[in-house]
Symmetry: C2
């Protein structure tokens, strides 16, 4: 059975001499693969050893490169990576908010690697996944992982704290384990774009009704946040229903420069005075949409 | 113009002698109403003065009772409240993640009230809204507000910190103001229920496709979290697409005991071996669905 999250007796900072030790302790079972997981269950642990030329380690944030397409002796990328096997497992962990154990291996080019052997560095969450041309000009799949601690740990615990607090009067406490699966962020311009479209989805023209009026979400075409760093501007925003927002963010469809959809039938609905920057559409198409899996 | 969030020169803990001072300083403009806002823009500030018999103040969490239906002299509830005016404004703030300025007024029954006059106590977020029978047996609308600080402030700032961190190498920093609009929480059983339904929505039978397979959300019928305290058990879980999850949580529809939908056409799809607790359906219908607005 694949165990996600913490393991009994395992503490952050624990050291392991080699892959065999890691495997036997069940911290990271495969002795060769960097990603432990299956596409149905998700990924439970990864090794960050700087083996991939495209990995980037910022301590609490890791931009991790998926596996495949690499020459084993040189470590160079020699063909495109695909969203299969371990890569698909990490994407599954992303969509379900599963925690991933991070093990760092010794590597001279990383400020965060141990001096020798392997070190368990705690739980991270896969926040986002996308593809891009790596340094060797082949497609690689990338995953932004963020350490679960401080704000994120608290975020997951809000519900627990609250129930405990609220029930203090009644002398009963209930704790329910929760993990965050998806956070919809609003920005300054979000409400403006939603109002302009009267909360109608630009893909399916649905207006979602609630007891207090309509609901829609504002989606950034080129995402906010590193490494995409899309702007919060109207030419980078769409008004979408939650379903099409999820599909758009997770590469279920994209939008061509003539506003035809790809991956879905139809065309983007656009108001006359809403100028969309086609560079951002191209960015989304190149990084999030994956034709191979269709 | 209605200003949401912080005001220049206003600091947490600032005192005001009376409603007129609060109004003139633009902290809370109306001199009578407890809720400042409009149904289109949302609510920008509220006064928590313990005037309503159903208000509950836990410091960082406030269960606030909406307005209407109250006898002004006794403060007793004499008719049902409706989801209109200020109540609708607070619901709008909930759906859009807008911050609400909280002003507490002196009140002998509250541990958190100032000794005299009014005190500005910072920004809160409306996390949830629902209706219930209040102490006087009339329907009241209730709003759970949570202070934006610590985890929540950090949560909103994640994007900013990250961009700053990530770009440190490139000597450029970009900050984009974000606020959290909606958090989807996963629990232990979430994945199980989604797998059982093969990521197919029990309302519309849609399977949302992404570049890495299907996506669905697990919805608790009787919500987790105070004061509902629904359990994380299969008889309280549904597999929904994000659209129907949003509509369900925000009272756009509900489910009758015979599994017919109300507020939407159709019937809930249920697997043979999935027992749903009808008490939880009744709880949702009573607390979240609002027939009057249809």
């Amino acid at each position: 059975m694949r165990i996600f999250g913490e393991l009994q007796g395992l503490y952050e900072g624990d050291s392991f001499r080699n892959r065999l030790e890691l495997s036997q302790s069940a911290v990271h079972k495969p002795t060769q693969a960097g990603i432990s997981g299956s596409q149905n269950e998700g990924a439970d642990s990864i090794i960050v050893s700087g083996g991939y030329e495209d990995d980037e380690d910022y301590g609490d944030i890791i931009i991790y490169t998926g596996h495949g397409g690499r020459d084993l002796s040189s470590g160079k990328q020699v063909t495109d990576q695909e969203l299969v096997r371990g890569n698909l497992a990490l994407a599954e962990s992303c969509k379900n908010g599963l925690p991933v154990r991070i093990i760092r291996g010794a590597h001279k080019n990383s400020n965060f690697a141990p001096e020798e052997g392997y070190r368990y560095d705690g739980l991270f969450r896969v926040e986002d996944y996308w593809k891009e041309k790596g340094r060797s000009d082949f497609i690689v799949w990338r995953f932004r992982l963020r350490k679960i601690e401080g704000e994120l740990k608290k975020q997951s615990n809000i519900l627990q704290e609250e129930q405990t607090k609220y029930n203090a009067d009644n002398k009963k406490t209930k704790r329910i384990e929760t993990r965050v699966q998806r956070i919809v962020r609003d920005t300054k311009l979000s409400k403006k774009i939603k109002e302009r479209y009267k909360y109608t989805c630009q893909i399916c023209n649905t207006q979602l009704e609630t007891s207090s009026g309509f609901y829609a979400e504002a989606a950034h075409i080129k995402p906010l946040g590193a490494p995409h760093n899309g702007p919060d501007s109207e030419d980078n925003l769409l008004c979408l229903c939650p379903n099409h927002h999820v599909m758009f963010d997770y590469g279920g469809f994209s939008i061509l420069e003539n506003f035809d959809l790809i991956g879905l039938e139809g065309k983007l609905t656009i108001m006359n005075n809403h100028k969309i920057n086609k560079e951002y559409l191209k960015y989304h198409l190149d990084h999030f949409y994956d034709e191979k899996n269709r």
